[in-house]
């Protein structure tokens, strides 16, 4: 008792003084020591196991454990229930590994229903495993058997479980629990049920590593010297040219060094680099503390960014001035582009930032681009326009067909899975099942570059917010970073356990996020190529990602219609958004970040209020960590048109695109 009191006092003292690191270290030490003491009895029991284990023992042991768990105290039941699933799958895999195929199947079918609600997809994968060689071959099963699963439970639940296991003498089950489950025993009350999410996904690597990864520092702020900032400044004082560019971080010096090395390597414009340096040095002035009250912190770009032409800059500034402020009361206007007569061939679509161009990628390996402004004109004034246009369009039209309303880009040798416009709309990237990425110019209407590097179909490709760089994700389980002027990738991000299905850039270009079929979302540092965050919580394949414009949040949508909003700095889920009933194909934040739009295969566009929820979440996170539901503002049903793409224009007009499908 005395020891504890002393410890408490020490901790209180450390807190008071603000020695956080020390405090953490102390706590870690403590937990380790307590853990060691708790696992001791288990070790003794472990020695007894493995004496006799017929196939019947598994069935018997599991069903006993199950009935015991279901009849346990309500307060601790949900914690104990968590143990069942890992025991179940490991029992099954053990049976398979020992060659009792028939018993394994019988066992699996008899208890399958218990876990279907939470783990349907994993079960479907495992169902097919029927021989020991399959276990070896299938990464999912393999990684499961290699790793330990962490389960959090309170002291009392743990004691209950240990007692039961000792009493019941079911050595097989005990063996499995010892081998594959890592208990994190926490003193005090049992946790709330809503925390279950952490336990659901079984990760290849143990969960500790993901936790370690998520403790890395992340600079999620916006780029300094962005146009938005420039606009604000123009509104304020113009005189002070030496004005600081925003908050500067401690690590900036190193960053600058890195960048200069990097910049030389990239061979990007030297002028820009210089400018950055100048900014970096001047930005060090003391006044930086003044204007960061509510603003996101500013960070330096790790990549050398391309320069924006002045006329484009002017148009962007113009757009920014005319931007509509959206919110829960001011909902956006939505312009919907419907693809008709696609004959089930359209795989993906993209809309340029101003909505004037619409591109579609087709399963017949073509990319088609529609100029919406031209289509409008033709219907208004037919003949006059037609004559003028004919000269310019002629070369785009196929020889056999004179009346095409679109520009046809041919070059790929497999279904096109992703098309994206560059931020300025002058380039298009397309990725295809032929494992290549192609760059097209909308001005020249020609293919410029073919990027080869992936070995399998490239599922997604995405331009960085400033252009020039782009990221791709593929069936080969990697994501890659490219620049337009190199045909080799600059970085390869490897780590996902299954296909990388979607990719998205962070607003400050320093990070990319990838969503995968292994049900996780990862955040990667573009400069180092390291994984800096793992977001666990989805229950099925992640299909879409979006980053908030202030760089603080990320949303991801999955196959089941669930959308999750993540806090990048903490790596935790802010809110799960329920509402869609089918795949969420696309997500988009409004330009100032107050609204989130989601488009789904259930033929709706939903608008969510981001500001309200995040504020509440931020305040409440500290208190109880309770989950808040993000508020759904509006559901806009389309006419049997699944929504493929959503895009906010710079003035906050929402563009959406989808295919009219009869059968839905």
């Amino acid at each position: 008792m005395e020891d504890e009191e002393i410890e408490k006092m020490v901790i209180a003292y450390l807190k008071k003084k603000g020695f956080k690191q020390t405090e953490l270290a102390l706590q870690e030490e403590q937990s380790k020591s307590s853990f060691a003491s708790q696992t001791d009895p288990d070790k003794q029991i472990l020695s007894v196991t493995e004496s006799e284990s017929g196939p019947a023992q598994y069935q018997d042991g599991y069903s006993k454990l199950r009935s015991w768990t279901y009849s346990s105290l309500d307060l601790y039941k949900h914690e104990l229930l968590r143990v069942l699933y890992p025991v179940f799958i490991h029992c099954f895999m053990d049976l398979v590994a020992k060659g009792h195929t028939q018993e394994a199947r019988a066992f699996f079918n008899s208890f399958r229903e218990d876990h279907e609600l939470m783990h349907l997809r994993d079960l479907q994968k495992l169902e097919g495993v029927l021989s020991p060689s399959h276990l070896e071959e299938m990464e999912f099963a393999h990684s499961l058997r290699q790793s330990k699963i962490s389960i959090k439970m309170c002291q009392y639940s743990y004691e209950l479980l240990v007692q039961y296991l000792q009493k019941s003498q079911s050595i097989t089950i005990l063996g499995i629990i010892n081998e594959h489950i890592n208990f994190e025993v926490s003193p005090g009350q049992p946790s709330t049920i809503s925390d279950d999410a952490d336990v659901v996904t079984l990760l290849g690597s143990s969960q500790d590593t993901s936790k370690l990864i998520n403790q890395k520092e992340i600079r999620w702020g916006l780029l300094e010297d962005s146009l938005e900032e420039r606009l604000e400044k123009a509104g304020a004082l113009m005189s002070d040219s030496e004005k600081p560019e925003g908050e500067t971080k401690e690590g900036e010096v190193e960053e600058n060094k890195k960048k200069s090395v990097d910049g030389g390597k990239q061979g990007a414009s030297v002028k820009k680099l210089k400018k950055d340096k100048v900014v970096g040095t001047t930005g060090k002035s003391i006044r930086s503390e003044t204007n960061i009250v509510s603003m996101a912190p500013r960070v330096k770009p790790e990549l050398s960014l391309p320069e924006i032409p002045t006329e484009v800059e002017h148009s962007i500034l113009e757009d920014l001035r005319n931007r509509v402020q959206l919110g829960s009361l001011a909902l956006p206007s939505v312009s919907f582009y419907t693809f008709i007569n696609t004959h089930n061939g359209l795989n993906c679509s993209s809309i340029s930032h101003d909505g004037s161009l619409v591109a579609g990628g087709f399963s017949d390996s073509s990319v088609k681009v529609w100029d919406m402004s031209k289509i409008g004109q033709q219907s208004d004034t037919s003949i006059m326009q037609g004559e003028n246009d004919s000269a310019s369009i002629e070369h785009l039209m196929g020889p056999e067909d004179g009346k095409r309303s679109y520009t046809l880009f041919q070059g790929h040798a497999g279904p096109v899975y992703s098309v994206k416009f560059s931020p300025l709309g002058d380039f298009i990237l397309s990725s295809s099942a032929d494992s290549t990425i192609r760059l097209w110019s909308t001005k020249l209407n020609a293919n410029l570059v073919c990027y080869k590097g992936h070995n399998y179909p490239v599922w997604d490709v995405q331009f960085s917010p400033v252009g020039h760089y782009f990221a791709s994700s593929s069936h080969d389980r990697t994501a890659r970073i490219w620049s337009m002027d190199r045909i080799q990738p600059l970085r390869i991000m490897a780590g996902h356990l299954s296909d990388v299905d979607c990719v998205q850039w962070h607003a400050n270009c320093n990070y990319i996020a990838t969503g995968s079929s292994d049900k996780t979302v990862r955040l990667w540092d573009v400069q180092s190529g390291e994984c800096v965050r793992i977001f666990i919580g989805h229950r099925s394949m992640v299909l879409s990602l979006a980053m908030s414009p202030d760089g603080r949040y990320m949303t991801s949508g999955d196959e089941d219609g669930m959308i999750m909003m993540w806090d990048l700095s903490s790596g935790r889920c802010v809110t799960p958004l329920m509402g869609h009933t089918s795949c969420v194909w696309t997500l988009a934040f409004s330009r100032e970040g107050s609204l989130l739009a989601s488009g789904s295969a259930d033929c709706t566009v939903k608008l969510w209020d981001v500001t309200a929820s995040t504020k509440v979440a931020r305040t409440e996170e500290n208190k109880s960590g309770a989950m808040n539901r993000l508020r759904s503002l509006k559901t806009l049903p389309t006419r049997s048109t699944p929504v493929y793409t959503l895009q906010f224009s710079r003035r906050n007009l929402l563009f959406a695109a989808g295919v009219l499908s009869k059968g839905v």
Binding site: Q124, K125, T338, I340, N341, I375, D499, L607, K634
Partner: protein
């Protein structure tokens, strides 16, 4: 055990020429086959997701196979998902219906149309968060305000609405095309599947409002021109019904233009020019249509129902009109509801008298005419039956006195009072199930053998009918007093449309009337009337 049985493996082995496969090998292969199939399906589902689809196609499986470096399976390339059929007698066995195609048919068939090229069309899904009611959008649940349709235009140009310019009505190109298509379908292909879908679209689509005046004009025009084109008329009436069903259309202002054409289709002398045209069906359909219009818009147009009723009554009571017109009028009146139906009753007897020579074989030699007369008779009977049924429904317990009246006990007022009180309390409480026989048409009807002799031949119906005393003359002669008051009471009632429940004295008269009614109707129509009578009452009555 694997879901793939070892027999399957053996069959497959045989199909590729391995005849002596040992059972052990098959048994070992089966689980592996299952695993591979699952693996391929997992990849195929990934391909499906990345093609942004929710149905798996043969192409997805092909892509999955090529991902695994396996030769794809040829012969299944199709853009649409395959349609599986369930094998009869098996729970989980499906197959693709592969029909035999006659070679000759393929050669003789005209070349299919070239598929339309992919295109993109734009529309507003929402304007400042509000979905405009245009055909491109999914139909909204209900129209918030009738002017909803015009909102988008106002918001778009941001002009205040109060500037009243001379309205220049502009129809969009799409709406014009839509109108042309629909009218063409109505005129030419009203029996096609397409027309059914067109009707469906008319009944559900939002944003058709600008077309309503054009449709009303179209209907009116076609009805006047095409009175002897039966199918056209039927199609037009269906169009009208669809328009009425559409919740997004504000059709009231156009009703006065629509009604004449609809009424025409009900009581016109001739509809269609061939004998085979089943114009009776059209009249029935239109009668329902009229009734639904009156029900729905009666509160908006106060004089709508009276006007319709008057028109129909005139048609009914004019002996110079053709029998077909009478039929339409009767059907129309009958469909309009209990209170209107009663208007038929006072004129039943004289009318039947009029009808009698037409019905009887020896008097009317013209087969066609006789058929028509039978039809009218059937309709009348049906209407009268319904009338009585309504009455009985209102006073379920009150059959005793009239029953006695029938059995010549001269049922008097005093005896019925307790009964009546009870009925006043629990009227409408339990309504016995109806057994309704289709009495439409001449079959199955026992023709009246002798019509009551003391019938007065008052031909001119309604206005003059107030003095008529022979409504309930059934069997007792001295009942006249009662029946006069009864019939007059009833008439008051009709005038005031169903207020009888409140006034007790009138209700009492009603009771008597109901009993007499049954009796008299029995007299008029014979036993077929019983099919309209709820069973318990019937047994009581007998």
């Amino acid at each position: 055990m694997s879901i793939v049985p070892k027999e399957t493996i053996e069959v497959i082995a045989q199909s590729i020429g391995i005849n002596n496969l040992s059972p052990d090998v098959a048994l070992a292969l089966a689980p592996d086959v299952e695993y591979r199939v699952r693996e391929i399906m997992q990849e195929a589902i990934k391909c499906m997701r990345h093609s942004k689809r929710t149905t798996l196609t043969a192409d997805d499986v092909d892509s999955a196979l090529s991902l695994r470096n396996v030769e794809p399976i040829y012969g299944f390339a199709s853009g649409d998902p395959l349609r599986f059929k369930r094998a009869v007698g098996h729970k989980d066995l499906f197959y693709i219906d592969d029909k035999d195609v006659e070679f000759k048919d393929v050669i003789d068939a005209p070349l299919p149309k070239a598929p339309l090229d992919t295109a993109v069309v734009a529309h507003w899904l929402a304007i400042e968060g509000v979905q405009p009611a245009i055909p491109e959008n999914a139909p909204v649940e209900a129209l918030v305000a009738p002017s909803d349709n015009k909102k988008p235009e106002h918001k778009e140009d941001g002009l205040p609405v109060d500037i009243k310019l001379p309205v220049k009505h502009v129809l969009s190109r799409e709406l014009q095309l839509y109108f042309d298509k629909i009218t063409e379908l109505t005129v030419n292909k009203s029996d096609s599947v397409l027309f059914k879908e067109a009707l469906q679209s008319l009944a559900t689509d939002s944003g058709l409002h600008p077309l309503v005046p054009y449709f009303t004009y179209f209907v009116a025009d076609e009805v006047t021109r095409g009175l002897n084109d039966f199918s056209l008329l039927f199609a037009l009436m269906r169009v009208v019904r669809s328009l009425l069903q559409n919740p997004h259309i504000h059709i009231e202002p156009y009703l006065h233009q629509l009604m004449p054409s609809v009424i025409t289709c009900l009581v016109a002398k001739r509809l269609g020019n061939r004998f085979s045209d089943n114009h009776w069906e059209l009249r029935n359909f239109t009668a329902d249509l009229v009734a639904s219009i009156c029900k729905r818009f009666g509160h908006v147009y106060h004089n709508l129902q009276p006007r319709v009723t008057r028109t129909l009554l005139h048609a009914f009571l004019d002996p110079t009109k053709a029998l077909t017109q009478h039929y339409g009028a009767i059907q129309g009146l009958a469909a309009l509801g209990p209170s209107v139906r009663l208007l038929l009753l006072p004129n039943l007897e004289p009318y039947l008298q009029l009808l009698e020579p037409e019905i009887l074989l020896e008097k009317q030699k013209n087969e066609m005419k006789r058929h028509e007369a039978w039809r009218v008779y059937g309709a009348l009977q049906c209407a009268a039956g319904k009338c009585m049924y309504d009455r009985l429904k209102m006073f379920p317990g009150l059959l005793a006195p009239p029953a006695r009246a029938v059995s010549r006990t001269n049922g008097r007022v005093i005896m019925t009072t307790p009964n009546k009180r009870k009925a006043g309390k629990d009227d409408m409480m339990q309504q016995p199930p109806v057994k309704k026989i289709a009495t439409d048409g001449p079959m199955g009807i026992v023709p009246p053998i002798s019509l009551p002799a003391n019938m007065q031949g008052t031909v001119d119906g309604f206005p003059a009918a107030s003095g008529q005393s022979n409504l309930g003359p059934s069997s007792s002669v001295q009942v006249t007093n009662d029946s006069i008051s009864g019939s007059s009471g009833k008439r008051e009632d009709d005038g005031r449309a169903a207020k009888m429940l409140t006034v007790l004295s009138q209700a009492w008269k009603e009771d008597v009337d109901a009993g007499h009614l049954l009796a008299s109707l029995f007299e008029l129509f014979g036993e077929s009337m019983f099919s309209f009578t709820p069973r318990p009452e019937l047994s009581f009555f007998l």
